[in-house]
Amino acid sequence: MQYYQQLQDTIRTESGSYLQEIATRIGANIDRTIADSYALMNTISSNLHTAEVRSFAEFASIAQAQREDWGYQDIVLIDEEGEAFASDGTPVKLDNDAYFMDAVIERLPVISNAQMIDNEERIALSVPLDGIALDGTTMAAMAAVYEPASFDETLSMSSFDGRSFSCIIEKNGTIVVRSSSPAALELGYNVLSTIGQSSLDDGDSLDAMRASMAENGKGQIGFAIDGVRYYAVYTAIAPQNWYLLTFVPASVVNSRSDMMLGATLLMCGVVTAAFAALVAFLLFSSSRNRRRLEAIAYVDDVTGGSTIKRFYDLAQKSLSKPDRPRYALVYTNMEKFKVLNEQFGRRSCDDLLRMFSEIIEESLRPGEYIGRQSADNFCILIEFDGEPWLRERFASWYRLAERYVEKNEPLWSLPIVEFGIFVIDNAELPFSQMIDRAKLALRESPQAIGGKIRYAVYNDEVRRLLVREKQLEDMMERALLEGEFQVYLQPKYRLPERVIGGSEALTRWASASEGMIFPDEFIPLFEKNGFIVTLDLYVFEEVCRTLRGWIDRGLTPSKTSVNCSRVHVKSKNFLDAYRTIAERYRIPERLIEIELTESIVMEDSHRLIEVIEDIHEAGFACSIDDFGSGYSSLNMIQSIPADTLKLDKIFFRNRTKDPSRTRSVVQSIVSMAQALSMETVAEGVEYEDQVDMLEEIGCDYVQGYVFARPMPIADFERLAFGVDANEEDEKR
């Protein structure tokens, strides 16, 4: 029995961490959605400067142009008296949120969940404006206005078969964004009060939850409302101390646990004859029920194919076979299907779904199945022979669909189709969780096939992250001592000459035990545990040593930039260490550039200015890295005395996005930087046409795969100086 108890505990813990994982992802998505919106607003704000927008008419066309891409309702302008105007200049009244108005007046970015605009409650996300006047009225802020439901799409990503839902609350429990999921409970105005008035699971306490939330903790609580048990998982999210609460009916979570417990009981031989009889009875009645249900629940009324229930049954059979191939569960989603529905009508869209389902079904191998889960979402059980093979299959389905449409329904336009892939290594996982994970995969960065297909494979990264972090932490000190951290240099090419005009020093971890570990994996961890300070200085010293070496050998090095984590900046005299090292190697003025990330700008702009002044005083140049990725705006940059602005790779990552939009954004940043006598570096540039564009608009440097990847120092020397360091040594 002790084993049983242990198992139960394990399952509870595991379910808990799974729920937490889902909630964390949703939270991260919300954070990202909000960060993206801020970035958009800041970009528009800088556009207003560069394009010298002076009238509502001009502003309205800008707001209109971006509306479809970003899904906001309108962009409202707020003047210095707090008076608000729709983008076309119509006065509107902002109502009821003193916190929001305080922030607007204090010129801070802010989100309000409860603005009444045109009589509808809206979420407004505001950034301060500086020096913008429209039709003669000076504007203090600009706010993108969203329908709460547009946030809800982010909230409802984890469906657990459509039975879970999420909401956002203040720390005191009052509601910020409600869920509009059909599965959502009416949680009242104060969700914590509602939970407090329900019957809590034994051992769970609302006070403990409040205490944990007060310290930005996360966790879960079990409770029952109207006889239905739920788990509520809480996670802090970035904006304004809000909290995400994700509710999952206990029955969904526990179905897996129950299954495992049942198996244990059998194994332990505790099962009595009576239990066996009960099982027999259940099996009997379920087989009887199955026949009855088959008729009503197995044929999908839209596609004529399988319903999700039938899919589960069939897929289960495939997964239960011994010697089965490796399978994946694929979840498909058609982008903006609702819009299509409106555009072409429900019937045409149903036809499209049927066609899609039939095409896939015809191409399936034995043991593979498809079922429609909901609306435009299908689940496919498919053999997994690696990603390339799946890509091929997705592409062929899409080609077939295109051919069909071309021939039969020339008026249709096929939507973008997304495929989320969960590779099934544990067939015991309930389908609902497989589906959730396949969906989750899509929320990460999906890959594209020809602009019309996106796909992504779920990996267990988040779940493994903690273990992994521990592992890396155990390794890092020794790795440094043993020289596993290597300095790579990525050249920056000067435009228009397209010759190397500088480089950025980056770190690689060539682990003896694991091979190459990439910075994405260890940098965030080191920032968390503070080891980044040691590592940055190590890299700095390596760079100085290298520069000294070049100078001593009569070479003329160009400016090299090194990253300086925001963790350093927190300590007042952090530059002393840099200065000491630079002096030790007698590095000439301005050969070193210190890169600060944009996030510091946001955290404390006063401190940042101090830091930059110190950097200059120490004889280094200073650049702002990742510009455009986050919250800062060009307005802020005006007051920051940096030498270089590095445009975030986000601008160049996705070529399929409207190039004219990218161009206008980048152009506005570059021209502002020029006006402030700052140099600009475009990072993450991958394509020649992007380089052309950057050249045209006057960007100073390009750093990206289009020219060169980060490379070991020796390779860089070869590239930059046309000499082989070793040869050079030999000659000597």
């Binding site: 008296e81 707090g82 008076e83 729709a86 119509t90 006065p91 509107v92 009244k93 902002l94 109502d95 009821n96 949120d97 003193a98 108005m101 607007v104 007046i105 969940n113 409860a114 603005q115 009444m116 605009i117 045109d118 009589n119 509808e120 409650e121 203040e170 005191n172 429990g173 009052t174 509601i175 910020v176 409600r178 409970l185 009416e186 949680l187 009242g188 105005y189 104060n190 914590l192 009060s193 509602t194 939970i195 407090g196 008035q197």
Partner: protein, 636 residues
């Protein structure tokens, strides 16, 4: 800050409904309302059905929820809504605050949308924040009401108000609804030229002066978030001068005066008269709601059509609608106590219902076009507000705030501007001066004596009557009850005294708000025994046709049955010494003026002492007062 509160006279429409109610069998129900001790008071005069759960609803001041009551009772036949009024001075606010302080709330309270008695909310009202129905309201509206994450009220709907104009008249004369302030002034002048008053606000009711000041100065002085802060600062005496912020509103007001839109004669016209003027084509416009726009025919038989236009503000201020928040809706904490499960279940159903579009509709049935705070309900859609739609759909609407310390001064000043004997500079001076005045202790907070126990309503009525009888030396004293079930006479008791200090405020809040021209002084009348009995049976008619009120008495002992028709309600009556009332004999009776039927009075000696003073004196003299509890008023 509070929205100002124009008083609407009862209308024939309402009267009809009330008369219908009156015809219904009346009932004396022995219901312990709530509170610290059981007592016997009349809660309702309606028929009681033991199968139905009674849910008491405190209805603010003279507000009626007859339409809502009917809708609830149709929807939930097992629920009997019992309206409890508090038709006392100061819009019943002091009375409501006392109820909150003493935990003497009804099951449901529908109160003013103010912060009245905020310090008692947590003790006396149920926190609604964890109840599902609160999910259906706009979060912004709830944020406004909530305190530390708790929610003691749901926001009721808000009435849409504007300039009500005679549409038929406009069409006949080719007058058109303007599109800006200048156009509005021009329109008024054209109307005045035709020999008719243009806009008649009825400025005799001083609070109506606010309407013009705020309505036409809204964009410049009230609409922006900064404005709210400025007013808050001024109320806290942090801001410098009234004129610094409000000059644009004063200027707009002056413009209206200068162009004859507001006239000195308006100061002699009261709220009810201006309504009559509108319906009889003596003026073209008033300020009111859709309810008013629909009332013409029933009021005067006019076939003219009426509609609403917004307040056009000067310069680029745009058009604004006025929202008049009608009420907050809360629950008395006692409904959740053990033993009250039936009531709890019933009130939850009521709250759930009123948190639906249908329920909001039902709430609005008593007040015309309303702006609901329920998600997805929003602005009303009736043809009378077509001209307001532009303002409403762009959120250009708002409740009219007032100054905390100096609104009266502002009203005095505005009246001066209308009369032409004050300039806006003088108004600023007057308002600033008043705003700066502070009173260490309000005279109304003065403690007069102590109550040794909680008084019931009949104890309180008996105490007032005793005071009158003692003061006058009359044989008998009578004092009216203020009415039940959504029908109120405005002449009687509707608040009670509680254990502890009795202050001036307490005396003022148990006595009626005098809205029918009563002086509130004591008269000592003589009447025959027969007339006395007739008085007790029928009382006086109020608003033409409402009779059947009842009195609290001193010098008499009664067993009273309002279930019976007026005329056969008195089961037993005797003088307090046990002797019978002799129909032939003549008695002296102390009463408040205008509270007994004229045709019952043989002679009348008018004392000029205010009843307030008499009661104050009685408390002071007694130092400690106690409920008489001598059984003089029995229900039978």
């Amino acid at each position: 800050m509070r929205p100002d509160s124009p008083i609407r006279a009862k209308t024939p429409l309402m009267r009809g409904a009330l008369a219908a109610l009156l015809v219904a069998t009346l009932l004396f129900a022995s219901v312990a309302c709530t509170g610290t001790e059981a007592r016997t008071d009349v809660l309702t005069q309606k028929t009681e059905d033991p199968a139905r759960v009674q849910v008491s609803v405190l209805v603010k001041y003279a507000f009626s929820i007859n339409g809502f009551e009917q809708a609830i009772e149709e929807k939930f036949p097992d629920i009997d809504i019992v309206q409890v009024g508090n038709y006392t001075r100061d819009m019943g606010m002091a009375e409501y605050e006392a109820r909150l302080e003493h935990g003497d709330t009804t099951d449901i309270v529908m109160t003013w949308p103010y912060e009245v008695g905020e310090q008692y909310w947590a003790d006396s009202l149920l926190d609604l924040s964890g109840m599902g129905f609160s999910s259906r309201y706009n979060i912004s509206a709830l944020n406004e009401i909530s305190r530390d994450g708790a929610l003691y009220y749901l926001p009721g709907p808000a009435q849409v108000r504007g300039i009500v104009y005679n549409k038929t008249l406009f069409e006949e004369n080719g007058w058109e609804v303007p599109s800006d302030f200048d156009g509005f002034v021009d329109l008024c002048q054209s109307i005045e030229k035709s020999g008719m008053r243009s806009l008649q606000l009825g400025l005799e009711n001083a609070e109506v002066l606010d309407t013009a000041f705020t309505g036409f100065g809204y964009a410049a002085c009230y609409a922006k978030p900064q404005d709210e802060r400025w007013i808050e600062g001024y109320n806290e005496r942090n801001a410098t001068s009234f004129g610094e912020h409000f000059q644009p509103a004063l200027d707009a007001f002056q413009t209206l005066v200068d162009h004859g839109v507001l006239q000195a004669g308006d100061l002699e016209v009261d709220y009810a008269q201006r309504e009559n003027m509108l319906f009889t084509r003596q003026c073209a416009m008033v300020e009111d709601s859709v309810l008013m726009a629909r009332m013409g025919e029933s009021q005067t038989g006019t076939t003219d059509e009426f509609s609403l236009m917004p307040f056009f503000n000067p310069d680029d201020g745009g058009d604004w609608a006025r929202l008049y928040p009608v009420c907050y809706i809360g629950l008395g904490k006692q409904v959740a106590q053990t033993g009250n499960e039936d009531v709890y279940d019933a009130v939850m159903r009521v709250m759930d219902y009123l948190s639906t579009a249908e329920g909001q509709e039902a709430l609005m049935s008593d007040t015309g076009a309303m702006f609901s705070n329920l998600i997805g309900v929003g602005a009303p859609d009736v043809p009378e507000i077509d001209d307001m739609r532009n303002a409403l759909s762009h959120g250009r609407y708002g409740a009219f705030p007032t100054l905390e310390n100096a609104q009266d001064a502002l009203r005095e000043g505005l009246a001066g501007m209308v009369r032409g004997d004050m300039t806006s500079e003088q108004v600023v001076e007057l308002v600033d001066e008043r705003n700066a005045q502070t009173f260490a202790v309000s005279p109304e907070d003065e403690t007069l004596g102590t109550a040794s126990g909680d008084f019931s309503l009949s104890d309180t009525g008996g105490f007032v009557a005793d005071a009158l009888r003692a003061e006058s030396g009359a044989d008998i004293a009578l004092f009216l009850d203020n009415g039940k079930d959504g029908r109120y006479n405005g002449k009687g008791i509707s608040g009670r005294l509680y254990r502890g200090d009795v202050t001036m405020t307490d005396v003022l809040r148990i006595l009626p708000d005098l809205k029918h021209g009563e002086t509130g002084t004591m008269h000592v009348v003589t009447m025959t025994g027969e007339s006395l009995l007739r008085t007790l049976e029928y009382a006086i008619p109020v608003d033409n046709d409402q009779t059947g009120w009842f009195y609290y008495a001193s010098g008499l002992s009664m067993t009273y049955d309002p279930q019976a028709e007026p005329g056969s309600r008195i089961r037993a009556v005797s003088r307090s010494d046990g002797t019978a009332v002799d129909p032939e004999a003549t008695y002296t009776v102390a009463v408040m003026d205008q509270t007994v039927p004229d045709d019952c009075i043989l002679s009348c000696e008018q004392h000029d002492r205010a009843i307030v003073d008499i009661v104050v004196q009685a408390v002071r003299d007694a130092k400690t007062i106690a409920p008489a509890q001598d059984g003089r008023f029995a229900i039978g």
